[in-house]
C-alpha cells in the first residue's frame, strides 16, 4: 500500500506519561485498552474517534500515547481517570506533550532501579520490601494472583 503524502496525513501529538508505581511495567495492549476505555467512558465513541488515541511505546517507566493534534487536553483528562491496568492499581501522570516522539524520549528520565531490602514468607504469600531511590519503599506482595504493591512507605533518613 502506498503511504499518503505528508501534507495529507493527520497531524499528531504525543503525550509522555509516567507510570506509577515504579515496579509496575504494563504491556502495551492492556495499557491501550485501559486508556481506550477511559476515553470512551469520558467522551463516548464519537469523542474517542476524534481523539484517535494509541499507545506508541512503553519504556523505562513511561508510556508515550498518541492523539490527534488539538485533542491533547482531552486525552490528558481521560488518562488521568485511569486507575487500573489489567486489574492492577496504577496511576498515569502526564509529564509532557510534544509533536515528535524523539523530543519526548529526550525528556524521559527513567525511574531509579529498585533494591530488595528484605523478604518475608507467609504461607504462599511472599512479601518483599523494595527501596526505590533514596527514600521510597514499596512492599510488594507475590501470591498465586500475581504481584502487586500493597504498601507505600519511606525509609528513615538515618537508614538511607
Amino acid at each position: 500500500m502506498k503511504p499518503r503524502p505528508p501534507t495529507l496525513r493527520a497531524n499528531r501529538r504525543y503525550l509522555l506519561v509516567r507510570i506509577a508505581p515504579v515496579s509496575f511495567v504494563p504491556d502495551g495492549k492492556p495499557l491501550y485498552l485501559a486508556i481506550a476505555e477511559a476515553v470512551s467512558a469520558l467522551y463516548g465513541d464519537a469523542g474517542a474517534a476524534v481523539i484517535d488515541q494509541a499507545v506508541v511505546a512503553v519504556e523505562r517507566g513511561h508510556a508515550i500515547v498518541r492523539c490527534r493534534r488539538g485533542e491533547e487536553e482531552r486525552l490528558m483528562a481521560a488518562v488521568a481517570t485511569v486507575s487500573a491496568v489489567d486489574g492492577t492499581a496504577c496511576a498515569l501522570h502526564p509529564r509532557a506533550v510534544s509533536g515528535t516522539i524523539l523530543s519526548l524520549r529526550d525528556r524521559l528520565v527513567p525511574p531509579p532501579e529498585s533494591v530488595l531490602l528484605d523478604e518475608t514468607v507467609d504461607g504462599e504469600i511472599v512479601r518483599q520490601r523494595r527501596r526505590i531511590g533514596a527514600a521510597r519503599v514499596d512492599v510488594i506482595e507475590h501470591d498465586y494472583k500475581g504481584e502487586r504493591v500493597v504498601y507505600f512507605e519511606t525509609i528513615h533518613p538515618e537508614e538511607r
Binding site: A20, P21, A41, L42, E73, R74, M76, A77, V79, A80, T81, S83, A89, C90, A91, H93, P94, A135, R136, V137, V150, Y151, F152, E153, T154
Partner: protein, 209 residues
Amino acid sequence: MRTDVRTYAGGDTTVERMALEAGALGYGAIVSVGGPPMTCGAVRVIPGVYVAAEKPNQALAAVRRAAEGTFVTVRLGEQGFNRAAAGFAGVHALSGVYRCRRNSFDHVAARTAADRGVAIELVLAPLVRERGGLRQAALRRYADVLVLHHRYGFPLVLGSGARSCLDLRAPRAADALCRLFGLDEDGVEAALTGVETLMSPTLPVRVVE
C-alpha cells in the same frame, strides 16, 4: 504554593510517602486528614479535620473541637445544613457537593460562604473513580458550583481525595479534569494555591489603644 487539600492518612500509604509523591508531582503542601503536622522534604503536611455530621449543632461542636492549625472541612448535606455550615466560624472549606441533591448548595449558602471566606472543595476522586451516572452527576454539581462561584466569588479549593499515593493527580492532570466542568487554567491555579489564604485570612485593621 500548590496544595492538595484532601488526602487521607491510614490508607496503604504512609503520610511521609504521600508527601514525597505529592512533592514529585509538583505540590508544595498537602492536607492530610488524620495526619500529623510535619514537613517531609520540601512538602508541608497540614493536618486536616473532616467533619461529617447530620445536624448543624453536631457539626459546630466538632468544628470547635478541632485543634489550632488544622484545615477544617465540613461535609455538605441538606439545604438547611449547608446554609448553617457556610456561616460556622473556624471552617475553611465545605466538601462533598458532588453527593448533594441538586440546589442543596444554593445562592444563600454561596453568599454566606463568600462573606465568611469559606471555600468550596472540589474533589477529583468522583471524576477519576466513578463512571456513568455518578460521574455525570458530579460534573453537573461542579458546573453548578462554578456558576455560583462566578456570581458570588467564594473561593474554590481542589483535592484529590487520595487514600493511596496512586490516587494523587498532578496539577496538570487536575487542570485537564477541571476543564471538563468549565474551570479554566487561572481558576485551577487559584484553587490550588488558595489554602494559605484560607488558613491565614486577611483581617480588617484594628486600632489597639
